[in-house]
């Protein structure tokens, strides 16, 4: 035990020589060190600063665009009814309905008030051929080429 304690003392008391000179050298090296080049930031992580009003405006425009596109999709898929007063005093109804609901719409139009004027907005790629009255059907359903 005494031997080990003595060894500890010898280890601690053994001089390491001058450390002030290395200290100064290292300090100078640290101070004169060129700062590392900043890493290139990927485009998707790059940040930009915007004035707040501009940011709010951009957000509003984006939201408006989103809402309008969502509405147009909903109108084309779900259909809608628009009722406007015609200049002559009558009432004008505008319907936009999915293709599979057209027949039901026509039935309701044909069996109702004769004074009703309906404007049907159908997709341009749907071809309709008259098959009797008032029924209408798709060309593919009633093709004359069928045997």
């Amino acid at each position: 035990m005494e031997r080990l304690e003595k060894t500890r003392r010898i280890l601690r008391e053994d001089p390491i020589g001058d450390w002030k000179e290395p200290m100064e050298r290292v300090r100078r090296a640290i101070l004169t060190r060129v700062p590392p080049m900043p890493r290139p930031i990927p485009a998707w992580r790059r940040q930009v600063s915007l004035p707040l009003p501009l940011a709010v405006l951009a957000a509003v425009i984006l939201i408006a665009l989103g809402v309008s596109s969502a509405l147009s999709i909903a109108r084309s898929n779900l259909g809608f009814v628009k009722i406007t007063k015609a200049p002559a005093g009558g009432t004008e109804y505008q319907f936009a309905v999915p293709v599979d609901k057209v027949e039901a719409l026509l039935k309701s139009v044909g069996g109702g008030d004769t004074g009703l004027e309906a404007v049907l907005t159908l997709p341009k790629n749907v071809k309709l051929v008259p098959v009797g009255a008032p029924r209408m059907g798709k060309e593919t359903e009633f093709s004359r080429k069928k045997p």
Partner: protein
């Protein structure tokens, strides 16, 4: 420790002035080479400077720096072992190289007996002994740095001291 010290961590300059001697001493005792010890200190303090935030007090700074020095010195030790192995292989192949020239190649500078005894220790015994004697770290801290248990640290330090005693005894260094 006062409240002010808790509130404001020591600046880089304060840490450098207070801890350079300790870090240099630890680096020197682990590597046994002044130039390499200086390089290790340089790298360790650069890493400290590049940290995004300062460490809260000097004790934690010392612990952090010694941990960095340990990683750097371990890399150096591995490189040195590779070089030694390559040199040994070369001397086996080349005839006419004397023992004294081998020693001159490996040890260019004069070392104290204590440093020679430390150099003779394997790294896994030398590092814990140096961290304990020159870094004043606790067994627990040394265990955390080296990734070993506290009891293992004690065993290693005991064995290291025994070997140093033997080495120094053979040289009749401590005749009191």
């Amino acid at each position: 420790m006062s409240n002010t010290e808790y509130a404001r961590p020591p600046s880089f300059d304060m840490v450098y002035i207070a801890l350079f001697p300790v870090i240099y001493r630890v680096s020197l005792r682990v590597t046994g080479d002044r130039e390499i010890a200086e390089d290790l200190c340089h790298e360790a303090f650069i890493k400290l400077m590049e940290r995004p935030y300062l460490l809260p007090d000097l004790e934690q700074s010392k612990y952090w720096l010694i941990r960095v020095v340990k990683n750097l010195s371990l890399n150096h030790e591995k490189r040195r072992n590779r070089e030694k192995a390559a040199y040994a292989k070369l001397t086996r192949l080349t005839s006419g190289v004397s023992e004294s020239s081998d020693k001159q190649f490996l040890k260019k500078e004069t070392r104290s007996d204590v440093q020679t005894a430390l150099d003779a220790l394997p790294y896994n015994l030398r590092a814990p002994l140096v961290f304990r004697e020159y870094g004043d770290l606790s067994y627990k801290e040394i265990g955390a740095i080296l990734g070993i248990s506290e009891s293992n640290v004690k065993v290693r330090i005991f064995r290291a001291r025994e070997r140093v005693v033997t080495a120094l005894g053979e040289r009749d260094v401590y005749v009191s």
